[in-house]
Subunit: 347 residues, 2 copies
């Protein structure tokens, strides 16, 4: 990657999608897979989640070029019970496995009211909120999780044995704003500790531990150590449960069996995901649901803010507002990411 100063530029959604598709097609993916992949990553960029958007072409591209990720996978979808599906991603790009799994889960949930789809043989599948959004737009509530490369020590332990596994929830409002929650189990992301180091600041001792597993206020020591989970043993428990559902039950890798895409970019990671979809249309009318969702949001946002300059918000509000604005006014992208996309696209 270039060492030039990174600047942000505005690009329309249509243009960015077209550029993203040309870039990923150059890496040998099929048209359908490129469409799915770019849909997820551009939605991430629309949400303002740039670390999980098209900037991922850097790591995805590096691994696709050396067949660390399979550009032409044979993804299998097996219905092991009426409302239970197992997907083998054949080491495809993560969002391609994610979309195939989501689609299978939504179809079965439409039939049975609820369905679960487990995926194995996958890779980093982007953020969760784009999947939750697709589901919510079709009236499905969702619980979605993935495991991840190990960065967290067991609670009280002293080496990285579990991933900062993301867990997401979505509940649709058919005539208003969905609730979307997409969270990892660490108090903060490593990027926030890196920023503190750059600025020469100490960090709260709840963010991370040193290499021996002891909480630290030194960002340098924390970067050599492990992220701390939210609520101590509670976040540790949640991260484990996500890995049990996403990795262990799916027959994927889990915990230290997950290969690191950074240390072993040429090997399949065998990440796992789970998608639980619930068809809210079976529970009541769209009017019933919309009214309750609106009332629910109002009760929360009507709480007088402790700091008058910071009104109460609800999960997904910021991302959905940003998506709407950027769909209209264009998406803010780093010039570095656009340069890399253009390089792959051969522009």
């Amino acid at each position: 990657m270039s060492n030039n100063k990174n600047t942000n530029v505005i690009i329309s959604e249509t243009e960015l999608q077209a550029l993203g598709k040309r870039a990923f097609k150059s890496l040998g993916l099929s048209d359908k897979d490129v469409d799915d992949l770019v849909h997820i990553l551009v939605t991430a960029d629309l949400f303002g989640l740039s670390t999980h958007g098209l900037s991922r072409i850097e790591s995805y591209g590096d691994r696709l070029k050396i067949n660390g990720i399979n550009p032409r996978p044979n993804i299998t979808v097996e219905q092991v019970a009426p409302a239970m599906i197992k997907v083998d991603g054949d080491n495809a790009v993560g969002p391609v496995v994610g979309m195939r799994t989501l689609e299978a889960a939504m179809e079965a949930a439409g039939q049975f009211g609820i369905a679960v789809a487990f995926a194995r043989g996958s890779n980093h599948f982007g953020p969760i909120s784009p999947y939750s959004l697709i589901a919510a737009d079709k009236g499905f509530a969702s619980i979605i999780g993935s495991n991840a490369t190990t960065t967290i020590a067991p609670w009280g332990g002293s080496d990285a044995r579990l991933g900062n596994s993301p867990l997401g929830f979505g509940v649709p409002n058919p005539e208003g704003q969905h609730f979307l929650l997409d969270m990892a189990m660490s108090v903060v992301a490593r990027a926030k500790i890196r920023n503190a180091l750059k600025r020469g600041e100490v960090i709260p001792n709840t963010w991370g531990t040193d290499a021996k597993g002891n909480p630290t206020t030194d960002p340098k020591a924390a970067l050599d150590g492990f992220l701390l989970p939210i609520g101590g043993h509670k976040g540790y428990g949640l991260a484990l449960m996500v890995d049990l559902f996403a990795g262990l039950l799916s027959n994927a890798g889990y915990l230290t069996h997950i290969k690191s895409w950074q240390d072993a970019p040429d090997e399949p990671q065998n990440l796992g995901h789970f998608f639980i979809l619930i068809d809210t249309k079976r529970l009541g009318s769209s009017k019933w649901l919309s009214e309750r969702m609106m009332d629910f949001a109002n009760i929360l946002t009507d709480s007088p803010p402790a700091d008058p300059s910071k009104p109460v918000i609800v999960p997904g509000m910021i991302e959905l507002a940003k998506l709407e604005r950027q769909r209209k006014d264009g998406i803010e992208m780093s010039s570095e990411t656009l340069d890399l996309l253009r390089e792959y696209a051969g522009d």
Copy 2:
């Protein structure tokens, strides 16, 4: 309640069950309902969760006597889609609604691989881990949640508008120890703040806020204020999601619509729960699952502890060990609770 000094005594599981049943029968419940209720509460006591065990006869009893809880409910179970069930608890004692909902969900999950059951018209249903244990013993993984009386302010808000909603997960190990996680979304329970006040200690400013929503180190101010959720906005988001699934989708009350059993003991609370059950027998053999579960636990507990006196544990380990020990050696119960049970039983 008596003001005498409370002491602990040991009582066998069989004796405690018999005493619990006599006590609750005196309150007008049917035999079947008493069996279910006492099963859940005694399991809580076996786990060492005494605040959620038979001690609850105090509040349940007070409300049953004045028909704030319905002793002779007509609970309805409706299959709204093949794998989706709606239960109306008719304001029964919470664990009775919980057991009926769990049973309906397990039956449908056995047929379809996964099922969800939503309950409305319920009350406090005890801890979650006893339900997760019943499910795990039959090979079901579970995600279970309930909403609760409001004790938490929205993130950045200044009045209690959401409950400290518990969320539980269970994953079975057919030949070994299940993983069970049962957690509320606050950093600590109010009891821990009360204990700090008693000892004249300050508390970390991450535990609670004062009445204006500002984080405080004064336990007195925190007790007049609100509990803080784990991970700040993350725990706030999780608590909301639990209420959306347990309260909003179930057609129960939610947020400030939930009546407080303390302020309005004579009124139905209309609490809601959700039970998602996954039949792991459809995913692989019992040998396959046991081996993976054992390996998963070993990877975690093999992490060298940061403090050598505190080995790494996994969720449910302490409770399941206590259950096994107390089944053999008897259950430690407060004499106060036993006295109250005997009073109801007319012993």
